[in-house]
C-alpha cells in the first residue's frame, strides 16, 4: 500500500465522518420498540402498548398490559405497578400511573401514562401474582 492510497483512504474517512456529522447530527434513534418481552424471572411474557395510538404523549393516557405465562396462557389475577423514566436524563415520569382495571383475558389497563420529553424511556412493570413478583423493563422510544 503506497502512501497515496493511505492518504486517499484517510481523506475518504474524514470526508464521510464530516458529512455524517454535519448533515445528520439530530437523527433520532431508530430502534424498534419491543412488542413483547419475557420478565426477568421468566414467569411471564408481557406486552405493553398504548390503548389508543393517537394519544398525545404529554397528557395522561392509558396503556394496556397483556400478561401470559411462558406457555402462552393468559394471566388473569395479576396486580401491576408501573413507573418509568429516562435513564439518559435521570428523571422519572411527570405522572404516577396506576393499574385502574383488570380487563380480563390477561389484559390490564394502566392509566395516567405521560411523557413530557421525546426520546428513549424505560418503562418498568412489577407484576405480582399470588404473592410472587416478577419485573420487566421496556425500552420505549417516544416520539
Amino acid at each position: 500500500m503506497n502512501k497515496f492510497t493511505v492518504l486517499t483512504r484517510t481523506i475518504l474517512i474524514v470526508a464521510t465522518a464530516f458529512v455524517a456529522f454535519n448533515f445528520f447530527p439530530l437523527a433520532l434513534n431508530a430502534q424498534d420498540n419491543a412488542v413483547s418481552q419475557v420478565s426477568t424471572g421468566e414467569q411471564f411474557v408481557v406486552s405493553f402498548t398504548p390503548e389508543n395510538p393517537d394519544s398525545q404523549r404529554n397528557s395522561p393516557h392509558a396503556w394496556i398490559a397483556e400478561i401470559k405465562t411462558a406457555d402462552g396462557e393468559p394471566v388473569t389475577n395479576a396486580t401491576i405497578m408501573v413507573d418509568g423514566g429516562m435513564a439518559a436524563h435521570g428523571h422519572g415520569m411527570p405522572t404516577r400511573p396506576r393499574m385502574t382495571e383488570n380487563l380480563g383475558d390477561g389484559h390490564y389497563k394502566i392509566d395516567g401514562m405521560q411523557f413530557h420529553m421525546a426520546g428513549e424511556w424505560q418503562l418498568n412493570l412489577a407484576i405480582t401474582v399470588d404473592d410472587v413478583t416478577d419485573t420487566v423493563t421496556f425500552d420505549q422510544v417516544i416520539q
Binding site: F4, L7, T8, I11, V14, A15, F18, N22, F23, F24, P25, L26, A27, L28, Q56, N58, S59, P60, H61, H89, G90, H91, G92, M93, P94, T95, R96, P97, R98, D111, G112, Q114, H116, M117, A118
Partner: protein
C-alpha cells in the same frame, strides 16, 4: 503518478476549504431530520386548543366577550385602579416588564405572559392551580394584587354586567347587603365570611367562579403569534425560498442547532410553545437569603386544600376526566424549588427572566445554563454545557428569532 498526486491534492484542498468554511460559518442548512425537529418547535405543530371540561363556557362567544371586559375592569380591586391588565399588558405579550409586579402591593414573583395559556395544565410558576378559571379568581383575592373579596366581586359583577351574566349563567340570586367577606381575606373579612350561611357562601362562590370561567374563556382566545422562525420553517418545509420577513441567518440556524443539540434546551423547551409544561429545578438563584421559594414543592398541599380544582363542586367536569390531578406526581422532595418551564415565544422582548426576574439579560441566561451552578435548594437538573463563545452567540441569535 503525478495525475494521482494531483487528484489527491485536489480532494484535500476541497475538504480543507469545506472544513474551514464550516468552522467559519457553520453548516447553515438543515438536514431532513433537523427540519423535522425545527418544525416541532414551529406554529405548524401547534395542535387545536384542548377542551376544558371543567368550564362549560370555555368556548362560549358571550363568555369570551364578558371575560374581555372583566380582564380590563379596575372595579374589582381594593383601590379601584387594578385590573388583570395592570400586570398583563396586551401590547407587552400580556406581561409587565417588571421584576416584581405592582397591584395593591408588590408580588414576590414575576408576571407571566398569557399567549397560549389555554394549552396549559398547571398555572402559575409552581402550578398550584389546575384550570384557567380557578387561576383567574386567585389574583382577585390576593392582598397584593387586586386585594378584593369574593363577596365584593359577586356584587360588582351582578351590578355591572346583569344582562351578560344572566344570559350565560341563568337568573342570578339577589344578594343581600353583605360586607366584604372571604375565607382568604384579612381577619375582619374572614370573620364576615364565617357569619354567612352555607347557602349564601355557595351563591357567592358560584358567581365568583363564573367570573373566573368568563375570564378563562377570554384568555383561551389569546393564541401564540407567528414569529420569524415559524415563517422560515413554513417556507422551507413547503420547498419555497423564504421571503424577506422569513429569512434566518446562518448564525440563527446554527443557534437552533445548539438549542436542539449541544445545549439540550429542547429537553424542556419543546413543542410549538417551547415548553414541556413541567417543573424543573434549574438552579436559578433565590433573591432571598436564606432561599424561601420552594416552587412546585408547596403546590400539592395548596391543590389539596383548594375547593376550586377540577375535582371540586364548582368544576363542570366529571371526576373521572380530571386525569391530570388524579395521576399527578407529587413527591415534595423531588419537586423542591422546581418551577414550570416557561414558553420561549417572544422571549427576547421580555426581560427580566425567571420566576423572580432574577436574571436581567438573555446573555446572562445563556451563561447560567453554560455554568450550571448548584441549586440554592433541592437539586439542579442542568449540567455545564461547555459552549464556545461562538455557540453562545449563535444560541442568542436563535432565541431572538422566536
Amino acid at each position: 503518478m503525478t495525475r494521482r498526486y494531483f487528484a489527491v491534492t485536489l480532494v484535500a484542498v476541497i475538504i480543507s476549504v469545506a472544513v474551514a468554511g464550516t468552522l467559519l460559518f457553520g453548516n447553515a442548512s438543515l438536514s431532513d431530520a433537523e427540519l423535522k425537529v425545527a418544525r416541532s418547535l414551529s406554529l405548524a405543530s401547534l395542535p387545536k386548543i384542548p377542551p376544558d371540561p371543567s368550564n362549560v363556557v370555555a368556548d362560549n362567544a358571550d363568555a369570551v366577550q364578558l371575560g374581555a371586559l372583566l380582564f380590563d375592569d379596575t372595579g374589582m380591586s381594593a383601590n379601584g385602579l387594578v385590573s388583570c391588565a395592570t400586570c398583563h399588558l396586551e401590547n407587552r405579550q400580556f406581561q409587565d416588564d417588571l421584576q416584581f409586579s405592582r397591584g395593591i402591593g408588590t408580588t414576590d414573583r414575576r408576571s407571566m405572559p398569557l399567549r397560549g395559556v389555554g394549552y396549559q395544565t398547571w398555572f402559575f410558576w409552581d402550578g398550584r392551580k389546575d384550570s384557567l378559571w380557578s387561576q383567574a379568581i386567585g389574583p382577585l383575592e390576593n392582598a397584593v394584587e387586586h386585594g378584593f373579596t369574593r363577596s365584593q366581586v359577586a356584587k360588582h359583577v351582578l351590578a355591572t354586567y346583569p344582562d351578560e351574566y344572566t344570559r350565560l349563567f341563568g337568573p342570578a340570586p339577589k344578594l343581600a347587603e353583605i360586607p366584604p367577606a372571604s375565607p382568604l381575606g384579612n381577619q375582619m373579612q374572614q370573620a364576615n365570611w364565617q357569619q354567612l350561611s352555607e347557602p349564601t357562601r355557595d351563591e357567592i362562590n358560584r358567581i365568583f367562579v363564573n367570573t373566573g370561567k368568563s375570564i378563562a374563556a377570554f384568555e383561551r382566545t389569546l393564541v401564540p403569534l407567528e414569529n420569524r422562525f415559524d415563517r422560515y420553517i413554513n417556507a422551507v418545509s413547503s420547498g419555497q425560498e423564504p421571503g424577506e420577513d422569513a429569512t434566518l441567518s446562518k448564525q440563527e440556524i446554527n443557534g437552533f442547532k445548539v438549542f436542539a443539540g449541544k445545549g439540550s434546551c429542547i429537553d424542556c423547551h419543546s413543542g410549538a410553545r417551547l415548553t414541556d409544561d413541567f417543573f424543573h429545578n434549574t438552579g436559578v438563584p433565590d433573591p432571598n437569603n436564606p432561599p424561601s421559594d420552594r416552587g412546585r414543592a408547596t403546590a400539592f398541599a395548596e391543590l389539596d386544600a383548594d375547593p376550586f380544582t377540577c375535582l371540586g363542586r364548582y368544576s363542570d367536569a366529571a371526576p373521572d376526566s380530571c386525569l391530570d390531578l388524579q395521576f399527578m406526581a407529587r413527591e415534595v422532595d423531588l419537586f423542591d424549588r422546581t418551577f414550570k418551564s416557561p414558553g420561549l415565544r417572544g422571549i427576547a422582548e421580555r426581560p427580566p427572566f425567571m420566576h423572580a426576574g432574577q436574571i436581567e439579560t438573555l446573555e446572562q441566561v445563556i451563561e447560567h445554563y453554560n455554568n450550571a451552578p448548584p441549586a440554592p435548594l433541592g437539586h439542579s437538573e442542568i449540567v455545564p454545557l461547555g459552549l464556545s463563545n461562538r455557540e453562545k452567540a449563535d444560541l442568542l441569535a436563535f432565541l431572538r428569532t422566536l
